[in-house]
């Protein structure tokens, strides 16, 4: 069954998360939720990815690595902040080592709330991100002056 015209690949970055959201992302990949039926593959390499999933808040140690991963993803790219910690710093917001949500470091396109975010919620967020990804792709193509091709290579 195909649900989408494209197969978006995701890369997952674990900020300072408690593992709750991470294992829910993994759970979304496994049989019961199985996002691979959308053609979504969790890749370890940011250069292969379209969507960056971030879990956990940003702290002083992982700020640079996060920026680094973000910079390596080719345009167009979408960032999805998963869970309360990634959206706003959450319950750990006031800790001395925490800067806050993902948006303090890199631009975020979709916020998925929940503590921990449910797999369904994560699927919703990724589906929403796909719409944004498509818009961004169109913008880039228009800028480059290329004629729009439906379903063309990203």
């Amino acid at each position: 069954m195909t649900y989408l015209a494209k197969s978006p690949w995701i890369v997952h970055y674990n900020g300072s998360s408690c593992n709750g959201c991470d294992i829910e992302i993994l759970a979304a990949l496994t049989p019961v939720f199985d996002v691979e039926r959308f053609g979504i593959i969790n890749t370890g390499n940011p250069k292969h990815a379209d969507i960056l999933l971030v879990t956990g808040s940003v702290n002083s140690q992982n700020r640079e690595p996060l920026k680094n991963v973000y910079d390596q993803i080719p345009d167009p790219k979408v960032v999805v902040a998963i869970g309360i910690c990634a959206t706003s710093g959450g319950i750990f917001r006031e800790c001395y080592n925490v800067y806050g949500g993902t948006d303090t470091t890199i631009p975020v396109d979709v916020y998925v709330p929940g503590c921990a975010a449910r797999p369904e919620s994560i699927i919703d967020g990724v589906v929403k991100a796909l719409g944004i990804l498509e818009e961004k792709r169109k913008k880039i193509q228009e800028k480059a002056g290329e004629p729009l091709k439906a379903g063309g290579a990203v």
């Binding site: 049989p31 019961v32 939720f33 199985d34 039926r37 999805v80 309360i84 959206t87 706003s88 959450g90 319950i91 917001r93 949500g101 396109d109 979709v110 916020y111 998925v112 709330p113 929940g114 503590c115 449910r118 369904e120 919620s121 699927i123 919703d124 967020g125 589906v127 929403k128 944004i132």
Partner: protein
Amino acid sequence: MVFFEMTKTALKSVLSKPATILYPFEPAKKTDLSRGHVVFDGSKCISCGICMKKCPAQAILVTKEAKTWQIDRFRCIVCNSCVDTCPAKCLSMDTQYTAPVSVKGVEVFTITYVKPVKPPADKAGAAGE
């Protein structure tokens, strides 16, 4: 024996229902107790502010003067603490989780509760905490 085992597994997989839930085309798994999001009933709130004090994530802000109750869904950890401690039972937990969004914001609700003239004693006590 190995072959027999394998056939058994294969048959089981063919005959059983797929494990996958075809979300979003099928409804999400949910139970009666699932913690989704906090629902506020403005007609019962006595503006005591206990939910604000007991919120470990400081997601709730109650302003007595402006008569508003606001919640930041992007701070709320859905722990049920406010629902448990609310003396007026104006908060409840809904099983539907908050949908993902592109722009963060807070939700503001108006408190419409009017203090009844009679009996005033016990309500005032609860609000004073």
